[in-house]
């Protein structure tokens, strides 16, 4: 019998081979194959057919008739997902017994196909029956499956395929220990919901010879013992060998005592202090670059943010909160911070620019991108320790966190909401938020409460207790290296950094929160486009003329800094001094992200910034040698807060709000 496989190399040889056989099943196949219209497939004929096209040529046999052209994946080495629920319905067995389809499938791995006896498409029902016949032989040979597997062929055509007719059809197959049921529906009415459930819509075409063709797309269903559809095969996919391994895969799953599918491998839960870095692509311009990408699914853990803030305050000023922070407020603000529905088109949360895994800034962009990809002209500042910022935004235009939120929420190029009222109504339309605002504030979302909740979360994103803090304020001499100490000496002395990046006796924010012109803004406004180097791939750097992409470029936005707030010419190109806490994690640097590394930042200041009429007198060339520059960088690397990784991981563990819950 196995020789049939080798003989079925082509359809014609198949016919010849079948003719040579006498066993009942192959007599059946002969009938089917000959009636399938091999010499002129009806289904491919259409008026106006272009005769030059080979559409009326011999149908190409489906892969299921041929030897598998690859090695089938090993049974049990993979999982099969749940793709639907196997529907039930009234059926009649070939013995005439009335049953529910689910009764036949319960407790067994089932292979279900829809056929009709008169089906004349070689790649339709005959294929399904042929493959199931082969499958049955393989299952029998495997042994031990007779009580765990069942094959079911169900007719599309209850009028012609009566139980008696199906019984006769069944008789054309040899007995086997593997149960193969041939069933039909008691009526068209009983059949239709079953076909609909299996997406096998019924339509008929009258053929020239007064017979009827039932149009359907071949589908064979693999169903587990719990009635879950685990794979669906079409004519191109159906093959006994892969089907056999799929059946065994489900059988193994069953025997391993799992009532549902094998769960997908999950990530181990990460400790809250385990640092999950993103591939920063350092050295990307070099051919030697090698990726170090990390998974998106990290199983990060949430932490007690209030306690964490309290425990990591060394080096931070003692600032009382304007309103008492509660766990509930912080949690509400945390949800809102990651809520994509806070943007006009549900794509953007605060965290899309202030990415927790990137130290609550964006390491992968010099300047941000807002809703619909709209250009934002400045680098996203980190919001770590933003609680202590006396002025907000690079141009210092805002002073309070709970008010600040409305700028990004309403900016056309950020979250693009049309109005305050729109945002509040949208939030209140989400039941989870309406309920939380009521319980936390006893009031709906308002300009005040929404701002307060978001500020509450940001107010606990604080992290001191850095190595510098432990050394400078905690008197732990070994907390930082000698180089870092030299760096601090330079920072506060010869290099004059601390004039703006201030350090007080009890605490340090490393910012005077004043505005200064370093020349970066001036250069951005006043320079002309020049050919520049672009890295196309690791080790592939070319010089590109901006003219080559000018037509695809919007006009570069101007940025006059503090002048845009005050309209005073003397404030042109002034920007706020940023805190240097966690600066090792917040590249790229400056208000427009134009400097990639701390080393380059030091070089920039060492050369005295960029000359321009409004250049701050505090910016002047510094005579620093390479050792001193390196020491400054080492010092800045000691400013990373003790709990920053926990804050980042907590952010990664936060639920991300999106449209699914919005009705």
């Amino acid at each position: 019998m196995l020789c049939i496989n080798r003989l079925l190399n082509s359809f014609l040889s198949c016919v010849r081979a079948v003719k040579a056989l006498t066993q009942k099943p192959f007599v059946f196949f002969l009938g089917v194959l000959i009636s399938s219209g091999v010499f002129g497939h009806e289904g491919n004929k259409h008026d106006g057919a272009d005769e030059s096209l080979p559409a009326a040529a011999l149908p190409v046999l489906a892969p299921g008739y041929e030897a598998l052209t690859f090695t089938a994946p090993i049974a049990g080495s993979y999982t099969l997902s749940h793709v639907g629920t196997a529907a039930s319905g009234d059926v009649i067995d070939s013995s005439g017994e009335q049953l529910q389809l689910e009764d036949l499938m319960a407790g067994r791995v089932s292979v279900l196909s829809f056929i009709y006896r008169a089906c004349n498409d070689v790649n339709g029902c005959p294929l399904a029956t042929y493959v199931m016949h082969q499958l049955r032989a393989q299952l029998e040979e495997h042994g031990g499956l007779s009580e765990r597997v069942r094959l079911i062929s169900m007719s599309f055509d209850p009028v012609n395929d009566t139980a008696a007719a199906m019984d006769a059809y069944k008789q054309s197959f040899q007995d086997s220990s593997i149960d193969w049921r041939f069933v039909t529906a008691p009526s068209i009415e009983a059949l239709e919901p079953i076909l609909e459930a299996y997406d096998q819509p019924l339509s008929k075409t009258a053929l020239d010879d007064d017979t009827v063709s039932i149009n359907h797309m071949l589908r064979v269903f693999l169903i587990d013992a719990n009635g879950s559809i685990r794979n669906v095969y079409s004519a191109n996919l159906l093959h006994a060998e892969t089907l056999f391994n799929d059946v065994l895969t489900l059988d193994q799953e069953e025997r391993q005592g799992q009532n549902t599918e094998v769960p997908e491998p999950t990530q181990s839960v990460k400790s809250s202090t385990e640092y999950v870095t993103i591939d920063r692509r350092e050295g990307y311009s070099e051919g030697s670059y090698s990726s170090s990408s990390t998974s998106l699914v990290q199983g990060s853990t949430a932490v007690d943010l209030l306690k964490l803030a309290k425990d990591n305050a060394l080096g931070l000023p003692n600032v009382s909160d304007s309103a008492a922070l509660t766990k509930e407020k912080v949690e509400l603000g945390r949800q809102l911070f990651y809520e994509r529905r806070l943007s006009i088109n549900d794509t953007f949360s605060c965290a899309m620019c202030h990415v927790p895994q990137q130290a609550f800034t964006s390491n992968e962009l010099t300047t941000s991108v807002g809703v619909e990809g709209r250009t934002v002209k400045r680098n996203a500042p980190t919001i770590l320790n933003v609680k202590y910022a006396k002025r907000l935004f690079h141009d210092a235009r805002e002073s309070r966190l709970d008010q600040q939120i409305w700028s990004p929420l309403l900016a056309h190029n950020e979250m693009a909401n049309p109005s305050v009222g729109y945002v509040l109504e949208k939030v209140m339309a989400i039941p989870e938020y309406a309920q939380q605002f009521d319980s936390v504030y006893g009031a709906p979302a308002t300009m005040h409460t929404l701002g307060d909740a978001l500020a509450a979360y940001q107010n606990v994103l604080v992290t001191g207790n850095s190595p510098f803090d432990q050394w400078y304020y905690g008197q732990q001499q070994d907390a930082v290296s000698a180089t870092a100490k030299l760096g601090y000496e330079l920072f506060s002395g010869k290099a004059s950094c601390a004039v703006c990046h201030t350090v007080d006796s009890q605490s340090a924010l490393f910012s005077d929160y004043q505005l200064h012109n370093t020349g970066i803004g001036y250069a951005n406004s006043m320079s002309k486009p020049e050919p520049h180097k672009v890295t196309l791939a690791p080790g592939v750097v070319v010089t590109v003329d901006p003219a080559s992409y000018a037509a695809a470029s919007e006009k570069r936005p101007n940025d006059l800094g503090y002048y845009e707030v005050t309209l005073q010419p003397s404030d042109r190109w002034k920007f706020k001094t940023p805190s240097l806490r966690n600066v090792a994690l917040t590249a790229p640097y400056m208000h427009n992200g134009s400097i990639a590394t701390l080393e380059e930042v030091v070089d920039f200041y060492a050369q005295g910034g960029i000359e321009n009429p409004e250049l701050s007198p505090l910016i002047r060339p510094l005579s620093l040698n390479e050792t001193e520059k390196a020491a400054l960088v080492e010092f800045m690397r000691s400013l990373t807060g003790e709990s920053v990784v926990q804050l980042m991981n907590d952010g990664m563990a936060a639920p991300i709000g999106d449209t699914r819950a919005l009705q």
């Binding site: 997902s81 993103i278 899309m352 964006s362 991108v369 990639a596 999106d658 699914r660």
Partner: protein
């Protein structure tokens, strides 16, 4: 825009609803091998079109163009269906029964499912899948919608954690139920795959199947940050330019397990697999480094990647975009978006494609779709909403659909439609429709 029924049906189907074996035949613009194909004259081209601010109703829409020369509506727009909002309309693909067209929005993450079988001349919006991000566990940017039996594979471009390029390959049933997410392999979790070179970035873009070798191939582009931003801003952002894909992943088609990660640096985009059964290879082009790469199975049945041709001068940023392989694997069509050129490469030696024909189609050119017999080629212009050119010199076409005949090695324009003048928007991917599919 009323549709008038055709007098005669002139579509011929290589494979019909009851008989869907077609893998040895031509691509009909690169469709899934699991799908019935239009072998003769297509009746319609469905153009998934981006809405643009200031243009018509400013919304994304599915535009139906009559392309049957025997129709009295030939060369005209016969239907336009707006879906609401600008979703960054991009690619689209039929279900394996070819009854529904799934069209993704790279920004909104919505997938619009159009019924194209009830009346192929007038598709209707049947369903909108809005759970792509949440159901998938954070995949952003539904790109390729690719038919497997009774299921759709949807490649992602990004994620909702950082809008970078790490992403997954998502599976839905034909009826729109989420099945599972297959995360792209990353260095820390290769999922059993072999990292054969220097990169395992976890990025995604396109997907194609080679069923005869049980292989699925995926490519890698970049995340939301980059594909959504202005192209000029991107070119000037040295950080952003580091975040492009450099990999092609070979998967087990049956189990969807990643098997091997190949280095293909410079953002490999579209994938097209050869049709002849002895040709176990696929092609891709790298958008940034501007090269044709062959992804092939060697004599030891190991999958490899090799750069086999340059496409223009990479420093001029030609940006190779859509590609299409001929029915008989003899030609590879490559569009370079920035210079508006379509280029035909001879594949007599699959490892040494030779550029044999070049024609400028417009100020910019992105997608091309050829009929399965290779006699007709259609073009559209739009690449991405914020990458597209904003202006064109007088007399140059900026946003268009163009129909050509390919005869004796020459393209001959048949008709063109100016999508800005028609107040439609930015035309992107094309798919073919035919009445005969549903007789």
């Amino acid at each position: 825009m009323q549709f008038k029924p055709l007098v005669t049906l002139t579509a011929v189907l290589l494979t019909f609803m009851v008989s869907t074996v077609g893998s040895v035949f031509a691509d009909e613009t690169c469709m899934s091998p699991y799908m019935a194909k239009i072998a003769g004259q297509e009746d319609y081209v469905y153009v998934w079109t981006l809405g643009a601010e200031g243009v018509g109703d400013e919304q994304d829409k599915l535009v139906t163009i009559d392309v049957n020369p025997k129709s009295e509506n030939y060369g005209t727009i016969i239907n336009s269906l707006s879906v609401g909002g600008r979703n960054e309309a991009h690619h689209s693909g039929f279900t394996d029964d070819r009854k529904y067209l799934w069209a993704g929005g790279l920004d909104s993450n919505k997938i619009f499912v159009f019924d194209v079988h009830t009346d192929p001349a007038k598709p209707t919006l049947s369903n909108t899948i809005e759970d792509f991000v949440s159901a998938s566990g954070g995949v952003v940017g539904p790109h390729t919608t690719y038919a497997l039996p009774n299921r759709m594979l949807v490649t992602g471009l990004s994620n909702n954690q950082d809008h970078g390029g790490r992403t997954g390959l998502v599976e839905y049933t034909n009826s729109g139920e989420f099945i599972k997410t297959n995360w792209m392999p990353t260095d820390d979790n290769l999922q059993g795959a072999e990292k054969s070179g220097s990169y395992a970035d976890g990025f995604g873009y396109d997907v194609r199947a080679l069923p005869r070798r049980n292989v699925l191939v995926t490519s890698s582009f970049t995340g939301w940050n980059n594909y959504m931003m202005d192209l000029g801003k991107l070119m000037g952002d040295a950080e952003a330019m580091k975040h492009f894909g450099n990999t092609v992943v070979i998967w087990d088609l049956h189990t969807r397990q990643p098997k091997k990660i190949l280095d293909v640096p410079g953002a490999p985009l579209e994938l097209r697999c050869a049709w002849k059964k002895e040709n176990n290879f696929c092609y891709t082009t790298t958008a940034l480094t501007s090269e044709i790469w062959i992804i092939y199975e060697d004599e030891n049945q190991e999958w490899q990647a090799k750069s086999v041709a340059k496409i223009g001068d990479a420093s001029k940023i030609p940006l190779p975009v859509d590609i299409s392989i001929a029915a008989d694997d003899s030609l590879l069509w490559v569009n370079t978006w920035n210079d508006g050129q379509t280029r035909v490469f001879d594949l007599s030696d699959p490892f040494a494609p030779e550029e044999v024909y070049t024609k400028r189609i417009g100020e910019q050119v992105n997608m091309l779709s050829q009929s399965w017999d290779g006699k007709r080629v259609y073009y559209t212009s739009s690449l991405l909403g914020n990458w597209d050119k904003k202006t064109a010199p007088d007399g140059e076409d900026l946003q268009y659909f163009k129909a050509f005949n390919w005869t004796d090695g020459e393209l001959q324009e048949q008709f063109a439609i100016d999508f800005l003048a028609e107040n439609l928007g930015l035309p992107h991917q094309m798919r073919f429709g035919a009445h005969a599919l549903y007789q």
